[in-house]
């Protein structure tokens, strides 16, 4: 499926004399996606340093002198996605998977989520079971409360679910990582998204999207992977943005 993304971020600033950003907004070609074109526009981008970070992502270090009171970032690209039932496999720059058993503050495991699950009976089945439980738990929560309020109260639902999934997988000794990307849902709505990937010796990395209760499809575009949301922030900046950045995301077919 060919998808064209346009993503703009507008970050309010307190007019600092200097601003520096770590940018993780680059889609790379993988067995699940072929990137036809990809570009990032923001002040200072032409002089940015680019490198692979410790997690195999393509990162940019961008800076501005006197950036003013807003910083605008525009990402646009076209990607041909391929549905491989969520199997990403192994990527050239992947660090050893064992590293992704490391617990972090954001991925504390929830004992109830893995209660009774035995991965020795099949890793992939166990991971599907965790994903299913997370999805059901969320659906139940939605029915009992007004969905709109719940959505606002819990921050970002995809991030929380991805963290819960990863924490559970790691608690079962399965390497798991946090993945950022874009999602075009069945209704045509586009969003910045997050899901988990878990490692299987045979198949390599496999994606699990607990929000949708599916393995990533051709409606997912993958950006970056890391230990948790903090390590994969699309734009981390110093000084920090004074408010949550305003965002628009549009994804069209073709």
């Amino acid at each position: 499926m060919k998808l064209t993304v346009t993503h703009t971020l507008t970050c309010p600033l307190a007019s600092p004399s200097r601003a520096v950003e770590h940018v993780l907004l680059t889609a790379l070609s993988t067995p699940q996606q072929r990137v036809e074109r990809w570009s990032i526009e923001m002040p200072g981008f032409a002089d940015a340093a680019t490198f692979r970070d410790g997690f195999g992502n393509k990162a940019y270090l961008v800076s501005q002198t006197k950036p003013g009171d807003t910083l605008r970032v525009t990402v646009s690209g076209t990607v041909e996605t391929i549905d491989r039932a969520g199997v990403l496999g192994r990527l050239e720059y992947d660090p050893p998977p064992a590293m992704f058993r490391r617990p972090t503050r954001q991925t504390k495991p929830d004992a109830a989520l893995i209660d009774g699950i035995d991965p020795s009976g099949g890793r992939i089945a166990a991971l599907h079971e965790i994903m299913g439980r997370l999805h059901e738990g969320r659906a139940a929560m939605h029915q009992s409360q007004s969905a709109g309020v719940q959505e606002q109260a819990s921050g970002s639902a995809p991030a929380d679910l991805a963290h819960a999934f990863i924490g559970a997988a790691r608690a079962l000794d399965i390497p798991a990582r946090y993945v950022t990307g874009y999602l075009l849902d069945e209704d045509g709505a586009a969003s910045f998204h997050a899901w988990g990937e878990a490692f299987d010796e045979g198949l390599g990395w496999i994606g699990f999207d607990a929000l949708l209760n599916v393995c990533p499809t051709e409606r997912h575009i993958r950006l970056a992977a890391g230990l948790d949301a903090i390590g994969t922030m699309p734009v981390r900046m110093v000084p920090a943005s004074t408010e949550v950045p305003a965002e628009t995301i549009e994804i069209v077919e073709g």
Partner: protein
């Protein structure tokens, strides 16, 4: 009292004097009764003028203190030193190879020689360092190895300090003071120089400049500032090697490169000898609220535009829990047996070893895995029953947080104290520089426990220092 088993580095059990100390012993005999007292008073004057102080955390009376200097040097023969320095060199080679492996393919973990979880789940492991190739493949360029001696031929490594070891300024100033106090003593015997350290440090830093840096790279010493306990040392070293002393706010990142603000405009910086802990180095990558670091510094390093000395994440190789695996690490990377021994260490997470520790705590030394500077440790034989009980409970509560070692009979050296010259326990921290070559300054910093019978040499716990001599052939 030093136990009867403690090895004295000057005097044999039969009262005869060991070879390296013969000249010193003769010289001491020749001194008039008052001379040493006067010399000790002079020494204090010299250090006050030099302004060397250190901060003691948790003390009530003013935080700035003078580290006591003992006027009697500690002496190591050329043969002893050659043996010792070979062992040190082997250790730092292996530990740098270990760091390279841990941050790349992790062969040692795949081979099962070091437990995977011990490394990958360790807070000292820095995932951000994965796959990074530092200049010359070196991670820890400046190392201080803590050693203790128990007999003429037996030295033990207490710990490998691979992060930001301090104290080298005391080594230099101790020599400076000794040269002023007893110039005649240096006429009688050949002592290997330590004064070359700042020059060797500069060469080492220049040799690891990133590719593309000019022939004479710009060096900076990055300090947390004047409130840091080792600020004196930061400014001293910068001054001695002709580098700029900077705080985080003096540096900035632009276009992926690091610059320092100068009166004549920004100047590109190639190598940073940082004395700021990993977590505070760069708010863009590590602790977001750090005011001490430089935003973007780590990314600039990752992009190959600046060298950080030492590299972030070196703490995984001197972690107290990893320490027990160093002999294994040396064998794995160098195919050699370790030349220097580790202190036998009990692992409290193993039930049988824990049981032994809990029963024999009064004879043992307990250290916190992430502690340093002698804080939060227990020396069984010199502690009270209440303290033993306290540490027993601490170990039961968090067995993984402590390592336990037998109390070693640390060697003693003659030391000038109120009662005259008496043996006191010492340790040794030699300083190692790793760049285009490995340079080990002959000697190092000798710390001495000034309290009679005490085995704790840390300056924060009432220890002093001595000039350390390595005799030349």
């Amino acid at each position: 009292m030093p136990g009867p088993s403690a090895f004295d580095e000057m005097t044999n059990a039969d009262g005869s004097v060991r070879e390296p100390y013969r000249v010193l012993e003769q010289w001491l005999k020749e001194q008039k009764p008052q001379a040493l007292g006067l010399m000790a008073a002079d020494a204090e004057g010299i250090f006050r003028r030099l302004g060397i102080t250190f901060a003691v955390y948790g003390s009530n009376e003013g935080t700035e203190k003078l580290i006591p200097f003992d006027i009697i040097p500690r002496i190591i023969s050329a043969i002893e030193w050659r043996k010792l320095s070979k062992g040190i060199e082997q250790r730092v080679r292996a530990l740098n190879a270990f760091l390279h492996d841990i941050y790349h393919r992790q062969e040692i973990l795949k081979a099962g020689r070091v437990p995977e979880k011990l490394i990958l789940n360790n807070s000292a492991f820095c995932p951000e360092m994965m796959g990074l190739d530092p200049a010359r493949g070196i991670y820890s360029h400046i190392i201080g190895v803590d050693l203790v001696r128990v007999s003429p031929d037996e030295w033990y490594v207490l710990e490998d300090n691979l992060r930001t070891p301090s104290g080298v300024s005391y080594m230099l100033e101790d020599r400076e003071a000794m040269l002023q106090l007893a110039p005649d003593l240096f006429q009688r015997t050949k002592v290997a120089p330590v004064e070359t350290y700042p020059e060797n440090l500069r060469r080492t830093l220049e040799s690891v400049a990133p590719r593309g840096a000019s022939g004479s790279p710009t060096l900076a010493v990055l300090t947390p500032g004047i409130y840091n306990s080792a600020y004196f040392e930061h400014s001293f070293l910068a001054d001695q090697m002709g580098a700029e002393l900077c705080e985080g706010q003096d540096l900035f990142v632009e276009n992926g490169k690091v610059y320092m603000r100068t009166t004549t405009g920004p100047r590109r910086v190639d190598v940073i000898y940082r004395r700021i802990d990993d977590d505070y180095l760069d708010p863009l990558t590590f602790k977001p609220d750090s005011m001490l670091g430089v935003p973007g510094l780590f990314d600039a390093y990752r992009a190959g535009n600046v060298t950080l000395v030492n590299a972030p994440g070196t703490g995984i190789a001197d972690d107290k829990a990893v320490y027990t695996y160093v002999p294994e690490i040396i064998e794995f990377y160098l195919g050699e047996k370790a030349l220097l021994s580790n202190v036998p260490t009990y692992n409290c997470t193993k039930p049988d070893e824990r049981a032994y520790v809990l029963e024999h705590i009064a004879e043992l030394v307990v250290k916190e895995v992430h502690g340093s500077g002698g804080y939060g440790m227990l020396v069984g034989p010199t502690s009270t029953r209440e303290q033993h009980e306290l540490f027993r409970n601490k170990i039961i509560e968090r067995p993984d947080n402590y390592i336990v070692q037998p109390t070693l009979a640390l060697s003693t050296c003659p030391t000038y104290v109120d009662a005259g010259i008496a043996p006191r326990h010492v340790d040794l921290r030699p300083y190692v520089l790793v760049g285009d070559q490995i340079r080990i300054t002959p000697g190092g910093l000798t710390r001495v426990a000034l309290k009679e019978g005490s085995l704790v040499v840390n300056s924060s716990q009432g220890g002093g220092t001595k000039d350390t001599w390595v005799l030349e052939d």
